[in-house]
Amino acid sequence: MCAVIPSQIEREILIEAPIDVVWRVVTEPDQIKQWFSEEAELDPREGGNGRLAFGEGQTFYLQIEAFEAPRRFAFRWVHPEGTKARPDNSMLVEFTLQPEAGNTRLRVVESGFDKIDWADEKKVKYLADHSRGWEFFLGRLRDFAPRAGAARPQ
């Protein structure tokens, strides 16, 4: 395998739900708490701040870069608390929603990986600490899946 570091991660998924429903799941703190973090606070406007807590005192601060319902939501995170997010101290996460015949294509891009110093163990650990959120999230997913599955038409 040719091991190369991309500067960004891009993912997309087709969701069989109208764009306004997907927008609310992606941006409303009560919903964010079901797919992302344990606690979520958001000042939903460009330039607004937010906070995601993943338990065990793991907290990330958000700086909202775009809040354009129902198509685009972007924030910077992973910058140290109390500092202003900049391209060289944070990662940019961008959600884009596109209606497709009553369904919604949701795309997420996280960028800024080329600015990370991979030799700096502290920074890499800080980044890898996202993974606590991952474990927490998997637990949530297992709780949530049977309910959501039951509600889906087969």
Partner: protein, 140 residues
Amino acid sequence: MSPASSEEALLEAVADTSRRRVLDLLLAHGKVTPTALAAELPFTRQAVTKHLAVLDRAGLVESTRQGREVRYSIRPEHLDIAVRAMAEIAARWDARLEAIKRMAESEATARRSDEYAAVVRAAASGRRRRAASLPAAHNR
């Protein structure tokens, strides 16, 4: 998600950037001078040097001086850490998107059945109103 599929997902996500080409050549050749790299790439030696500086700051390459020449090579341990961390982060986004999909689709289904129930109720009350106002012969 299995490690193999998250690696595939990572590769899928790799953007074809100039730095990727520099890394590819370093992986292929081992220790190389910027001049030798530039000879194989469609950019100038200055551009190659800039990319190498970025990769060096990221801890992904290291340079060694041999006489008047500086040669660059990959730091495999850091590349490995980076690739694993990226694969992990990519897998996490996949799972989050799956969760968003489940939640939104469950909400959309609930909304459709509410709408259906409302239509059924409206139809039923319409029938009742007609039943009250029309002669019995027209009712079923």
